[in-house]
């Protein structure tokens, strides 16, 4: 229709100047993504097998010598998921700093993408942590430092995403969210520390992962493999959600172009 009659040079509305990425990055990223996806699947499958078949369940797990059965296997997922939740927030913070510094909106897309993943994983942390606690140690919830900090992180993510949804795609909204990402990330270790101190007077009934020192090698290896698997998974998901952000941006830009045409 009308688009065909224009010369390409006149179609794009002026945008903020962006640094061009080096040309060789394109093919590398393209093939690299396939490699990453394959590696993710392989390590995930390996990790799952190890968690269910390879790792022993009859070792003395905790200081009180409670031996656990199959439920304990959830630790092999709970720990990596928690790691990813915090890693995602780290990415949010770094992307936010870079966005404020460089003013390149692509960092903002990265922050949004990472926050979405992190929110999901934090929810999973709370769920798996609660299930583990109930199955292994008899309680649904405990105010130990790790679980509590994860709960607070969950609220921070929710607040971040809510702010995003209220401010839409505006620049000032992106900047406000970036500031939130940075400040909240600084708060995480302080939170953890203060809750740990708070708990010294009233130690929680049973601390998750308290028996790490006594774990046999096979357990440690399984945890490592699962950590790696979930980290790769995070990387892969991040690429996908980032691409989603970019496509949303493109869609809005095209829509704005069409509206311009109709005016």
């Amino acid at each position: 229709m009308q688009l065909a009659s224009r010369s390409p040079a006149k179609t794009a509305p002026p945008m903020a100047p962006r640094r061009r990425l080096p040309a060789w990055l394109g093919p590398v990223a393209h093939y690299g993504e396939y490699v990453l996806g394959a590696a993710t699947v392989i390590t995930l499958m390996l990790g799952i097998w190890m968690a269910f078949a390879y790792a022993p369940t009859d070792y003395a797990y905790s200081p009180t010598n409670v031996t656990l059965d199959q439920v304990q296997r959830i630790e092999y997922f709970h720990v990596p998921i928690a790691w990813v939740a915090y890693l995602a927030f780290f990415f949010v913070c770094v992307a936010s700093i870079l966005y404020l510094w460089r003013k390149d909106e692509r960092w903002d897309w990265l922050a949004r993408a990472s926050a979405e993943i992190g929110a999901v994983f934090t929810t999973l942390v709370l769920i798996t942590g609660s299930l583990w606690g109930k199955g292994a140690l008899g309680w649904w919830w405990e105010w130990d430092a790790r679980l509590t900090t994860s709960l607070i992180l969950w609220f921070v993510y929710v607040g971040y995403l809510l702010l995003r949804s209220y401010t839409g795609r505006s620049e000032s909204g992106a900047r406000a969210a970036a500031v939130l990402g940075i400040v909240a990330f600084v708060g995480v270790p302080i939170n953890y520390m203060s809750i740990t101190w708070w708990n010294t007077l009233h130690p929680p009934r049973e601390v998750l992962g308290g028996g790490a020192n006594q774990s046999p090698a096979s357990v440690v290896i399984t945890v490592m493999v699962c950590l790696l698997a979930f980290t790769l998974l995070f990387g892969y998901l991040l690429i996908q959600t980032y691409r989603l952000q970019r496509m949303q941006h493109e869609a809005l830009r095209l829509r704005a172009l069409v509206e311009l045409d109709e005016r």
């Binding site: 224009r6 006149k10 179609t11 509305p13 002026p14 945008m15 903020a16 100047p17 839409g168 795609r169 505006s170 620049e171 941006h249 809005l252 830009r253 704005a256 509206e259 311009l260 005016r263």
Partner: protein
């Protein structure tokens, strides 16, 4: 008002005498809000001490352009300098030299007119604030009401206060966004006088207005914005109101 010039901060980055620098020099300026372009490829120059009127239909981008020049908003593309200072890089130094009177007065309702001006005098770090404030209130005809809360003033009086605030620190460039909104005849004449006085002392003025005839008579030069682009940039005397209205229409093919 006496022709006392504000001392320039040391960061002036040009060798020419400051009063010879163009008041505004804008090249390829663009602004996009949420992927919608509001200003596209704006380029013009306002000479030192010059007066120009910025005309355009609603939504043409006049306010956005003014806000960029006032350092309130950063442009998405292009460059702008005011008296040699870049509007983005040297924004902090520039604020002392620019006065802005917006579409709405935005003064503090719970303070008196005098307190409002004294507050801004302190923000600008002006010496002799009380004397200057009183003189200014006298000039804009608010002396009788100067100690009453702004909440009790009429729209026209509040607008006069906003104008007083805009020229409080004797800016080299005054930006006026539809300043005659809500002004009565007398105040409108006052505004004309103020602009003329400014021009006589070398102060530049850029104003936007909906009243085309008024704009043409006040500004030596005229800029017409249509659909975010400049469709006219030149002297006012060759334009008639009818010409201007034609220029308001954005030509769709030119994108």
């Amino acid at each position: 008002m006496n022709a006392h010039l504000v001392a320039f901060p040391r960061e002036a980055s040009v060798e020419q005498h400051p009063s010879l620098l163009p008041a505004i020099e804008v090249t390829g300026l663009g602004k996009t809000y949420e992927l919608r372009p509001v200003l596209r490829n704006i380029s013009f120059t306002l000479k030192a001490g010059g007066t120009a009127a910025l005309l355009g239909a609603n939504g043409a981008g006049k306010t956005t352009l003014l806000r960029i020049l006032a350092t309130l908003v950063k442009p998405s593309a292009g460059q702008g300098t005011v008296m040699g200072y870049d509007v983005v890089r040297d924004a902090a130094a520039l604020r002392r030299l620019i006065g802005y009177v917006g579409h709405q007065p935005h003064v503090y309702d719970d303070l008196t007119a005098r307190e409002n001006l004294l507050f801004f005098a302190r923000m600008y770090g002006l010496a002799g604030a009380a004397k200057r404030t009183d003189a200014l209130l006298e000039r804009v005809g608010l002396r009788a009401k100067s100690r009453e809360r702004v909440r009790t003033l009429s729209r026209g009086q509040t607008q006069r206060l906003a104008i007083a605030r805009g020229i409080l620190h004797e800016p080299r460039l005054l930006l006026l966004d539809e300043p005659d909104t809500g002004l009565d005849e007398e105040a409108s004449t006052l505004l004309d006088e103020l602009i003329t006085e400014r021009a006589a002392t070398g102060g530049a003025t850029l104003l936007t207005t909906h009243n085309i005839a008024h704009g043409l008579s006040r500004g030596e030069d005229t800029l017409v914005l249509a659909g975010g682009r400049l469709t006219y940039n030149g002297p006012s005397r060759v334009l008639s109101p009818g010409d201007v209205r034609e220029l308001f229409v954005a030509r769709r093919r030119e994108r």
